[in-house]
Symmetry: C2
Subunit: 225 residues, 2 copies
């Protein structure tokens, strides 16, 4: 499936390539994780997320013969070069939120009177098997940030509940999918749950995050369409 790397050292992929990589990965993800909510990291995760969504439909509870899209949220994260004023060489990379989920999106609309069709609800993050989608895992900085902050939001929302309310919420789980994982030194850290590793639950959230990559590539520039 991996395209040859061009004379310019770039790995070129087409929409069709990405679609096929995701079709393949989605089968595995469906069986091993069966996500209930997608969180797309904009802009890279938008196209992969849109494709992934079509493969992760779940039967409607109202009419199990019908398949419904699972809820999809987008967050905006950008890496930005932070150039410190005076100290030469002191260049870091920082993650900037350009869009985030509001509190209602985290907590869900449990008490809203309107009956919302499945796959179209804003059912919140709590108690869900969440899949965070991005295009490429390069430095892992963005993924680390996304996971930490989403985890924190869920943690805070759960902590704000009464013990009775919390008891009704299933365990929240995190996983991530990237189309390409570059095999390089990662600056960001993710507490990855290895395949076969037993899940540990800590106050209503599974510790760590499942990790799915469509393909692993050398540390080359990937030219998306």
């Amino acid at each position: 499936m991996v395209n040859p790397i061009g004379a310019d050292g770039k790995l070129r992929v087409t929409y069709e390539d990405v679609h096929l990589i995701i079709a393949d990965a989605a089968q595995r993800i469906k069986v091993e994780y069966d996500p209930e909510l997608l969180i797309l990291i904009s802009g890279g995760g938008l196209f992969p997320g849109r494709v992934m969504r079509t493969f992760l439909k779940r039967p409607s509870a109202l009419d199990p013969t019908k398949l419904r899209n699972i809820p999809t949220q987008a967050i905006g994260l950008s890496l930005y070069e932070e150039v410190a004023g005076t100290v030469e060489g002191q260049i870091g990379r920082e993650v900037v939120r350009t869009q985030w989920l509001n509190e209602k999106t985290v907590k869900g609309l449990k008490h809203e009177s309107v009956k919302i069709e499945e796959g179209k609800d804003a059912g919140g993050l709590l108690g869900k098997r969440i899949l965070i989608v991005d295009e490429v895992d390069d430095s892992r900085t963005t993924l680390q940030y996304a996971y930490q902050e989403l985890h924190r939001d869920v943690r805070l929302a759960l902590d704000a509940m009464t013990a009775e309310e919390r008891a009704e919420v299933p365990v929240t789980k995190f996983a991530t999918f990237v189309v390409h994982n570059k095999l390089n030194e990662k600056k960001g850290q993710l507490p990855i749950i290895q395949p076969g590793q037993e899940e540990k639950v800590s106050n209503g959230i599974v510790e760590g995050i499942r990790y799915f990559a469509g393909e692993e590539t050398e540390n080359v520039w990937i030219a998306y369409p």
Copy 2:
């Protein structure tokens, strides 16, 4: 560019088709409108928006030799069949928000201390040429809702400012782009500014909305990839 309609009456389009339609439309949109902010209606608008973004880069103010992505936000809207309990036939369609912009995103981060690279900022909606992106304009219900609500958010944010603050904000403009516009009876209404029509400004916002469609199609089922 329009593919033949299949024996099943569906118009099939590929990623490549959508890409080419957008490449074509983007040239026109760039010249006639030059958007500064994209708002993608999820899920349909995610892929078109991602493609559109690559064609709408703008020169960096810091280094005009470099092109930067324009800021991109996603909103989630779904049409849902509202079945009234007792009155037979009384079936309407309602738009449900599954994700929306928070206040900070509407107003921007003008007073944040962090220096944010262009194209990565969360510079808000105020004073921008906004382009709302979706896949298809079918009943127009979703587009009407998106425009009305975004307009309302901008209106409220402007009204909450002092006269001095407001005087510093350029005029806010709205436009929309859809890959396909179905030539059918529209249920939703948009106050479309016709080409060549003079713009009228009302309290800091241009009245009405520019409308761009990649292609116009018959009233057929469009099978996106």
